[in-house]
Point group: D2
Chain length 173, copies 4
């Protein structure tokens, strides 16, 4: 199992698609975006759910956390059932977020990968992609890495997604 | 847990979003579309993966089946961890597809829902939505229900998604 | 040229795709959605642009109106240059919106089509599609038709997009 | 008016969104992607339309060319009606494609911008974005620039979209 952690617009999804292309076996991918898509729309306008503020801030509540915990257990179960899984996540809680994954993944081999991108560059890419609230990239760029340990870090500021993916793949095969 | 089974363009996704809106608790949703999104792109051009033919036919191979089995285990694990989950699937294998779910969901309370839509109407909606290979709706409309048992059936031919969702929700609450 | 007018979630886009499929010649399509996609993102958070309120209300300002007028001239020019064009629009200004199109389309043959859908049903479909602010469908269902004249009206409340498209196509060929 | 020309996955759309953000006035944007979206779906499976081959090759036929010519006239008319317009296109015909635009834009001030990206890098980004047929980026990277003249060239190989956009904007204001 591979877990990528990085802020919004740091380039996680692009790396994941490149990883799926270069790794010889087929890997499933899940992440915070697909989890949010699985939630009821009404949780995006409720304090218990996930609220995206106009300034790029993201806050999550109790209902979100409860469903996320069950989802995490499910992803772990897929890996235990034999699937190779790459997850991309945004550790809004830093070290605490990583601990939640560690508990769920107990006994599984995990490669922890930090995806860095300079805040200023990520903010520019956020404008370029055009489908995110402005400000998320800058507000998350550093905080998601606080207290988190990695087996490997990549930095997309000056390195292409495909090159980052090849670096990660070399640790897996 | 709720499992909806129906052919392409029968209206499953619309019913799921209405269900998430009318059910008082927050329900997670997963389905064949989100599973295919989780696969490597290269599995869509490989016999071992999932191939969408130009005539609307869909065939799946061994690698697809292996990952699907692990995914099914993971969805079951989310439900066992306390999440309420609604799945929409296309039982390309009819009764055999249902048995795969039953084995994975052993011990969980499941509401099995058949989503019917007259082939001619589903084919028209396939044109109207514009994002599917023409022919999938007609080729799947009947075959996915062969030998499958349901607690409840809805028919979107002349009934709105929201009305179908309310009917289903009445069996859950 | 064909112009469809109707509220949000009344089914205009589905009818357009069916029209493009059933009409023997190739028709281009443009509409309010593709126009909004052509605007700078910042116009969606500015009083001079287009603001989607949380209750489904939509308000547009002077910059939006100026660009819309130029866009309308451009669509008319495509038709004058020989393209068959079907436009789907939301006449937020009712009769005044129609007059703006009439002035731009001066001298061109236009089929004016009203797309009706009962407010309650459109509101349900708005939930089912899941990509629109709740409340737009209900707030626009009637007001967009005020004072507007049509060559033809269709009602998607109980009629499929494909059937509506065939009715419209019969007036064109 | 600004016209960007570059191969698939060279980064045109990202530059356009950044341009719309940094230019003080509101600019409309259109391009080959929005034009293809305006075509009937059936033109994507017809020799007269536009065919995307499995190897990334793109071929267009007579019906496509006729509608494209009318669309080009319409974009020119928007600019003549006072809208500031930025177009991103793929000059599959090289110099001949540019001449078609020049004839339609006769009398308008146009900034011609070439968007370069090394073939190898564009091919990697094509994998990373995940929504394009593999091979388009490499097959178009050079051929679209043959015989085309520019007021300005940018290269996204090692320069961010936002930086390219600022360079272009400096020629406009």
């Amino acid at each position: 199992m591979i877990i990528l952690n990085g802020g919004s617009s740091s380039g996680k999804s692009g790396i994941v698609r490149c990883l799926q292309a270069v790794l010889p076996d087929p890997w499933l991918t899940f992440g915070c975006d697909s989890f949010v898509d699985a939630l009821p729309a009404k949780l995006q306008t409720s304090d218990g759910g996930i609220v995206f503020a106009a300034d790029g801030g993201v806050s999550v509540g109790a209902e979100f956390r409860a469903l996320e915990a069950a989802w995490t257990e499910g992803i772990a179960a897929m890996a235990r059932a034999g699937a190779k899984v790459v997850v991309d996540d945004v550790f809004l809680g830093g070290a605490a977020s990583q601990q939640r994954w560690q508990q769920a993944l107990n006994g599984l081999a995990v490669l922890w990968v930090g995806v860095r991108c300079e805040s200023r560059v990520a903010a520019g890419r956020e404008v370029a992609r055009g489908d995110r609230v402005q400000g998320m990239a800058a507000s998350q760029a550093d905080v998601v890495h606080e207290g988190v340990f990695y087996d490997l870090e990549v930095d997309t500021t000056r390195t292409e997604s495909m090159v980052c993916a090849r670096t990660i793949a070399a640790h897996v095969i």
